[in-house]
């Protein structure tokens, strides 16, 4: 299982160094690194020309793609993404979600995404689990479960006069 965090984390060094760390931890042989790295970059839709760029010079969206590619280097059976687009602007966010959506088609990879965006979940998920205040309140076919919900107020639960954060609970959509 591989994990992608809400906020991308870069290891010191270049993009290539970042992928090499994952390869080392996954026990990838030296000879296989180049092929695996270019495959991961392709899946994460990350430009190979940026391979030798220092990680901290990338935009947040690019960093998140490197994090995705790094997770894919470990050849996971399940990919868990914790609000992968919440640090991104809407356009970058849509593009990344499309990449993630394509992943399970191309790679037949079980992907679990935690998100507050119902529309996002509805667009990509096969199966959805709605969590409200720490409890599973609904689960099943994504279209049925998410059909009646809208973005994102419907997930915030009953209004609480003391709660000024306005943060809805997350729902999970898996594909």
């Amino acid at each position: 299982m591989a994990l992608v965090f809400q906020t991308p984390v870069m290891f010191p060094g270049t993009v290539s160094d970042n992928l090499a760390v994952a390869a080392e931890l996954a026990g990838v042989q030296d000879g296989q690194f180049d092929q695996l790295a270019s495959e991961a970059m392709l899946l994460a839709e990350f430009k190979p020309s940026l391979l030798n760029r220092p990680g901290d010079e990338l935009s947040v969206g690019q960093k998140q793609r490197v994090n995705l590619a790094r997770a894919l280097m470990t050849s996971p059976e399940v990919l868990l993404l914790d609000e992968p687009t919440s640090a991104l602007d809407p356009e970058t966010s849509r593009a990344l979600m499309k990449t993630i959506g394509d992943l399970s088609e191309v790679r037949r990879l079980t992907t679990i995404v935690a998100t507050h965006q119902v529309s996002e979940a509805r667009k990509y998920a096969h199966h959805a689990v709605v969590i409200r205040e720490g409890r599973v309140v609904d689960s099943g076919d994504a279209e049925e479960v998410l059909g009646g919900l809208s973005d994102p107020e419907d997930l915030s639960g009953p209004p609480d006069p003391d709660d000024v954060s306005g943060l809805p609970d997350s729902d999970e959509a898996s594909r």
């Binding site: 965090f5 906020t7 984390v9 290891f11 760390v21 931890l25």
Partner: protein, 268 residues
Amino acid sequence: MQALDVLEQPILDLTWIDLTVAMGLVLISIGVSRWHRTGLARSFAVGALRTVLQLTLVGYLLVYIFAIDRWYLVVAALLLMLAVASKAAVDRQDSKTPELFGITGVALLLGSGLTLIYVSVMVVHVDPWYNPRYLIPLFGMILGNAMNAAALAADRLAGEMETRRPEVEAYLALGANSVRAAREPVRRALRASMIPTVNTLMVVGIVSLPGMMTGQIIAGSNPLLAVRYQIVVMFMLGSAVALAAVIVVLGYRRTFFTAAEQLRPKDG
């Protein structure tokens, strides 16, 4: 040898009246502190008083230990020094847990103890093995440096584990164990704790004349012998610092992770 005749002269005695005159120097530091309102005048006065009291007490204690000349008294004195140094090193940390005190104690015991045994047995050939005239000053120097290194190492490791928390988590998420995940914080903590010693090795004798060497020279030793002792001291400080720092860092690293190799929450 005309030049070495100076060594035959007796040491000039320092009387209590002379020390009172030396107190004038403290007045200068207090004066500067008051002049610019640094808020340190009182501390200078208290510090000066503590210096007089602590050193006088140590002087009498050393006279007593030298006179009784028993191995167990020497060992007790060394262990007392060790306990005080461990406490002082932990007191400088933000997290003063009993666990960290234990780790620091073990680090100082092994780092300083092994270095002292090496130097006293294999280099200086101290005879009898517990001769307090050698062991206590040597251990004092070793311990002082090891204590600083241990404190620096623990402080830096805690800081690095805090600022690099996301990075450490990311390593763990990729399947790394705690040793691999904390490699960079460990490296940085060790560097920070050993750099002062490396710098001292670089400039000793050029920028500064070390206290032990100057002391021996004033006490009438041949400067060449004093220099040889100082070389031994510099080498032993390097070893004590490296050992104490690495033991503290490796022991302390463990406390940031659970048995299942998870990063502990910040407050736990």
